[in-house]
């Protein structure tokens, strides 16, 4: 009996140790950096702006995780691949030829809309097919089974698109109309980054209204609440789940185009890491909640951009930017350990626990 008690203490002790050591590193590192102050105020603003731009993309991808998780309680590991498949296809079939013919620079708006449409449609198609073939038959299976299928789907899609379009990095054309800089708070903002931020806000608000106000949105929420009851209410559960996947994938397809606008190159592997990060963002904000995904994405983006110089520079860590992902994953781990409901999530997390 004495031993049992010790075990419980051991668990709490370890958790406390982790908490304390992380806080010590963060505080000590920040103090050291700030007292040394290698960066100007403008640098810090820059870091934050970069973080917001990156975080917006995380937010858009995170929506897909959150929606699917809300409905199926399943981590759709392949979601990053939906993001990749859309923009890869749009780049190869649309953006490349449009740019080569000069149409892209003559009619940037029409071209971009076309690219966006192709990207979103491809993502949606891939998502719906994946759901139909790989996930739907497993809805009643033990919970690990769909997760494993999703991991399989992720790799399958990645390497299918690698096989289709090749393993090289594909350049995404520079859109002349978006290559300028705009003065902002004493620094300069890239137009493409501004587009990303604005587009993200529009899409998130639109999606939120869709889910909250429309009939389909209500069906989605009903299915998220209780599938059996929803079915009794005459809601076609399978169809609603498909729509949920499609919505998430559409957001991911759009995020893909924004990604390509900012970074101007695409690659078959580009979905994997952003996918993981977006999942982190979704968890951070509180998985299952749309505003949570947005806040989590921004938070993670800023953290990744500001974190390494703030926490690690002062500790004299060599090449500290290498450890950016360590910071992101550490944050994921800490959130899941200490606040699994995320920053604003409450309801769903408890349902899950």
């Amino acid at each position: 009996m004495q031993r049992r008690l010790q075990n419980i203490n051991y668990l709490d002790l370890v958790l406390w140790l982790i908490r304390v050591s992380i806080i010590v590193i963060v505080v000590w590192g920040s103090i050291a950096t700030l007292s040394d102050n290698p960066y100007s105020g403008r640098n810090w603003i820059d870091f934050i702006v970069f973080g917001i731009a990156q975080g917006s993309m995380y937010a858009l991808i995170a929506i897909g995780y959150t929606l699917v998780y809300g409905v199926l309680f399943m981590i759709n590991f392949a979601h990053g691949e939906f993001f990749m498949s859309g923009v890869m296809t749009a780049t190869v079939f649309v953006a490349g030829p449009l740019s080569a013919s000069g149409y892209l620079d003559r009619q940037p708006v029409i071209s971009l809309l076309l690219i966006l449409a192709v990207s979103m449609l491809t993502s949606v198609g891939v998502a719906v097919l994946t759901e139909r073939i790989a996930y739907r038959p497993l809805r009643k299976a033990p919970r690990l089974v769909p997760l494993i299928t999703a991991i399989g789907a992720s790799f399958f899609l990645q390497y299918t698109f690698r096989g289709l379009y090749g393993s090289e990095v594909k350049p995404f054309p520079q859109v002349e109309a978006l290559s300028g800089k705009i003065p902002f708070l004493g620094t300069e903002l890239l137009e493409s980054q501004l587009v990303v931020i604005i587009a993200t806000v529009i899409m998130l608000v639109g999606l939120y209204l869709f889910v909250m106000r429309t009939k389909t949105g209500k069906a989605i929420r009903a299915v998220a609440e209780d599938k059996d009851v929803a079915a009794l209410m005459g809601i076609d559960v399978d169809r609603t789940i498909s729509i949920t996947f499609a919505l998430g994938a559409a957001m991911a397809g759009a995020a893909g185009v924004l990604y390509a606008l900012v970074f101007r190159q695409v690659h078959f592997f580009m979905g994997f890491l952003p996918g993981l990060k977006a999942f982190t963002a979704a968890v951070l904000g509180g998985i299952g909640s749309i505003p949570g995904a947005a806040i989590g994405g921004l938070f993670l983006g800023i953290f990744e951009s500001v974190g390494p110089p703030l926490f690690l520079d002062g500790l004299n860590v060599p090449a500290y930017h290498q450890l950016k992902d360590v910071i992101a994953f550490t944050m994921l781990v800490l959130i899941l350990i200490f606040r699994p409901q995320g920053i604003i999530g409450e309801r769903l997390a408890e349902k899950k626990a």
């Binding site: 009996m1 049992r4 419980i8 408890e350 349902k351």
Partner: protein, 267 residues
Amino acid sequence: MNILTAKNVTKRFGGLVAVSGLNIDLAQGSIVSIIGPNGAGKTTFFNCVTGFYKVDEGEIIFDGNLLNHKSTDLITRMGISRTYQNIRLFANMTAIENILVGEHPHLKTFWAEAIFRTPRFLKEEKDAEAEARRLLRYVGLAGLGDSLARNLPYGAQRRLEIARALASRPKLLLLDEPTAGMNPNESAEMMRFIKNLRDDLGITILLIEHDMRVVMGISEHIHVLDFGQKIAEGTPKEIQRNPRVIEAYLGRGAASGLEAEGVSATV
């Protein structure tokens, strides 16, 4: 002597107070029922006793020990064991394996002994298996030891669940609607069985039950809960005459269907 004393136990979920200031005393060797309409807090109270929920206020004392901050497994080791309203067997394990898991608190060998098959380990395993077969016979499932739990008929599953709970050699057994879904014959059978448990093994029994025939037939003492509060307690006769109980039941319709506590616990 009281084996279990609950003093002023309160459990809240967010704004909802599931159990509020509940006092229950359980005499050693008695059979006591908790009744009440849906959502009255009966299963929540069970969950508090077994440590699955942490009590917000008040204390639960078992055999002279405070249970409040003890973990579920520890409480089981101290001698409280339970069954579930919606049977929760290890569905993909055989009946014998289920009981063997139940015997867990009494197996003493260190895990590494299993690797070397020490004589002590072999003997313990043999004894455990014999004990499991004995319990299986005791609950009337002899010969079904190797079938999967989920393949057993409903009534057999109920009895297997009790056998599994008995395997930990409890001093107090909590039964959550042991006769739910049974026909009158089966219920009567179960009543006899529960009585025997107490008479043969001296186990104190606390049960949640909706079937009034069962409740009145075997309980020595009854507590009535409504909205998380105790509205009455006494012998079956007293309860039958209590106006508040009658109002609670008849005023709001008889108890049937799904119990709401289970839902509130997971939302």
